[in-house]
Symmetry: D2
Subunit: 141 residues, 4 copies
């Protein structure tokens, strides 16, 4: 399961085809792409924070969702529009108001469905803030 | 399972204790509360829309999450801070750029956990845009 | 969303094409089929019980899974083999060692995916023992 | 997150407190326990197989469920009865009629809830047959 796009190519694609992820500023960045795996970072701003100094649930969901999309995109190329059909998320620990990393692994990349494991953490990849599993439907070519 | 708060009481509580839901304008409104059940509406604005004229996945997630929270709140009262531990969402049909209703039913309201079924629809409650199941952890009193 | 098979037709199909559901005796019975909806009953025997007089988790899973399959089958006909791709189940209350009913509603019946809501209860349909959401992949004809 | 029980201790505990997992013969075996992680094997017999030579969905569910239970047990000790509250499973590839391994990682081990990631595979741990996430409720001591 080799990637077919580089970080720069993914960023360029998102810029033109998915500009709405930058509505709140340039908070989402792809930081790594390798075989079957990508990492995306969310650098939260005021909109993502919650009283008490944490990051909101919808922000964690959005990070998992867009990172899973990028995992599929980077491995099938910018040929078709995959859409989320299911996302299951467990909230494990209160995040601090600081950057969040989401590492996605492709558990399956079929012709019709992709299933992605998404682990969200801050400094320590062994101490997850949230964990999600997402299914994307891949349209016929 | 009788509610212990009215729509006005829930709105007043959200105003003071959860003002961040109004960051994008007053888009979330509780429209009904009855035994074991509440309905919340999201009136989407530019921020919630996506190219092609649909409402974004994170907006649907946010609606299900806040509506499930309100379902718990309305039945246990403003005494403690429940937090989402799990949310599973299925995206079923592309919504139109128009108001979305989310009807939540309390499947279980225990001492420690509440489980909520959330059905999101537009005009037709029989044709769901999305369906979610959420678990909230209720802290000890 | 009208059904295309009767209860007798579904039972006959399961008999020939899915005999393994009767491995533990004739414990699974379809009790109702209507538009977008079916109900299946599990009459538990020794194998499904657990010490303390309850029904095991895997038995509840099996009931939700086979009932969701029947919901799809009854509405698309015995033309193709649908397979479960995702099942999310919440265990809500300890069941008694007595028959369990599972009412499934088709939330979506698309060309490629069906999404089913499954509510498991004993006497009282308003007091669920478990609730599941399942996705079935429907193969191309 | 260090384990507090050995493989032999877990087997002895299951023998006396959870004998029903041996109803179909001694098919479940714990093969590894380490910090935050355990592996369990299911050696399927006729009851777990399906026509076409695969292992049934309920058998995969049962493996994920009991392995997640053992992951919690091995790290909190035989002091209390944890119960499954939620299990989300994705079926990824048809298993062959051969032993299945399930490696569970504790994503969170809190006072009230444990969240476990369960990966099911045959020869190749990188090619999953199924993936599950489970939540167990831990009763007060």
């Amino acid at each position: 399961m080799q990637p077919v796009m580089t970080i720069d190519e993914v960023h360029a694609f998102l810029e033109t085809d998915f500009p709405q992820i930058h509505t709140d500023g340039r908070v989402f960045t792809v930081t790594a792409i390798s075989a079957g795996r990508i990492t995306m970072q969310l650098d939260p701003n005021e909109r993502h924070l919650r009283p008490g100094g944490t990051v909101s649930g919808p922000s964690l969901f959005a990070l998992a969702d867009v990172a899973a999309y990028v995992a599929v995109l980077a491995h099938i190329g910018p040929v078709a529009l995959a859409v989320t059909t299911n996302l299951n998320i467990n909230f494990l620990r209160m995040p601090k108001p600081a950057p969040l990393n989401c590492t996605c692994r492709l558990l399956k990349l079929g012709k019709r469905l992709a299933v992605i494991d998404a682990a969200i953490y801050q400094e320590n990849p062994g101490e997850l803030v949230a964990h999600a599993t997402a299914t994307y439907s891949i349209p016929p070519k």
